[in-house]
Symmetry: C2
Subunit: 284 residues, 2 copies
């Protein structure tokens, strides 16, 4: 597949709740608007078909998971992508036999499946009890070729790990995409993670000379308020588009992938890396 020179990337941000049908309607409506504005690739929030259930540890929530081949949210998303002619990573609660994963499925322009990534880094803390639900992903970091560019996919907590961003760029990604669910800390009301959250990903953008996007939800759900602030930055970490802390909507920008590739070569980071000195990063 030849390397496209540019990509029209869209991000979607909205409030979500317990009613799956209403969530899909809302997200799909915004995806359609982004596609109308020319987006070829559309990024949506993490686990958008429901409330952010890992806020609590409840056995009943495991019933939200489905095998991928019969996952209602995936089936609906495939129809939508085919109708809009867009590529979209869809975030899902996956059941695979006795295992449960926080999974991203990349859907292609004909509604076909382009691949699967299972979230590698699983958080655990007040309001983010993901270790109760999700087995740490076993897919490894994966980059997917599409007609619009090579997509490096991570999920939420992955966005804090420089190793993930580096591995995806080493594997040939043109852009890094992170579906997200993040907001207030129910037991630490004074801790606002919004700025550090952006800085970590701006750092990935600079260190890997690669555009980065994150799509988050907004609104209150029980004890949490999700702070939106979805954004797209270019390969220097400069903001190309963003949404506010409570806005619902979408943004579409053109990423100059050829320019980013050229700058990535000229900066020389990948020329000057010293893999033989990085052994401690892979020690168990």
């Amino acid at each position: 597949m030849s390397s496209p020179k540019s990509m029209r990337l869209g991000i979607v941000q909205c409030a979500l709740g317990d009613t799956t049908a209403a969530n899909l309607l809302r997200v799909f409506e915004l995806m359609a608007s982004a596609a109308e504005s020319g987006a070829s690739v559309i990024l949506t929030p993490e686990l958008f078909d429901g409330s952010y259930f890992p806020q609590h540890e409840r056995e009943s929530n495991f019933a939200r998971a489905h095998p991928l081949d019969e996952h209602p949210t995936l089936l609906a998303s495939r129809e939508l992508c085919a109708r809009l002619g867009v590529v979209a990573p869809i975030s899902l609660f996956e059941r695979d036999g006795p295992h449960y994963y926080n999974t991203l499925v990349l859907v292609g322009v004909a509604g076909e499946l382009l691949g699967t990534y299972r979230k590698s880094h699983i958080p655990d803390g007040p309001g983010y009890e993901e270790k109760f639900y999700f087995r740490p992903g076993n897919s490894g970091f994966r980059v997917f070729q599409t007609p619009f560019g090579a997509l490096g996919l991570g999920v939420c907590w992955d966005q804090w790990f420089p190793e993930c961003a580096r591995a995806l760029t080493l594997a040939g990604a043109d852009v890094l995409l992170y579906p997200t669910a993040i907001g207030t800390e129910p037991e630490e009301p004074e801790l606002n993670t919004r700025d550090p959250w952006r800085r970590a990903m701006q750092g990935h953008a600079v260190s890997n000379v690669i555009p980065v996007a994150a799509a988050n939800r907004v609104g209150e759900e029980d004890a949490m308020r999700f702070y939106g602030s979805s954004f797209i930055v270019d390969q220097r970490g400069d903001e190309l588009a963003s949404l506010s802390e409570d806005e619902e909507g979408f943004r579409v920008v053109t990423l100059d992938l050829a320019r980013a590739r050229s700058e990535r070569a000229a900066w020389g980071f990948f020329r000057d890396r010293r893999p033989e000195l990085y052994g401690s990063l892979t020690e168990p």
Copy 2:
């Protein structure tokens, strides 16, 4: 050595030129002022004993290098540290037989040598012709215990590499310190690297939950203008102190190392890393 709860960290920023004696006088004067303001650890710019000679590829510049045990800048710096009772990483052009390195020597409060680090990542481009001069460092990434905390040391170009910051934090650093020489791009006047430069290190701060400092030079030297902007950020990437693009001076702040250690534990990044998935980072 027990882990101190806080560190008084100073950074020094100034213009430098071709006269070594004048440079040492200027830097030492600012170090003394920082010590008077209570700094126990003082960070100064990269290769502060001369102009930034790697701007050009000139054989005559190799005469600036000396073996460490007779390096005039190191001898003078040891006297100063003993007099002030401070710890300081001193950036030097080192000659070791036929090899030349961009080396950092950590000097202790009695003027003793606490250890040596040789810059691992060597840049090469218009205005930054370091590959002409410096052999890539063979010391590996090193953390040095001091009475004031554990110092993770990198040099300039190292500051763009997340692997270096991660390796230093994994090795027990309390703070990351980067002597720096960076400014305009002589052949790309429209490229301002200042913001990406800061973002890369703010990213390291957040991803490793560790305070980070960089000390740069200011002023014009031939075709280049060095943009200063030296800074100290805390473990969330929030700025604690900084200098402007042309200011000469120093800043001293108190780093709450105990608080940073506690936050580093609570964020869970080091609990949730997946070293078994990071193999591609160490591939030759």
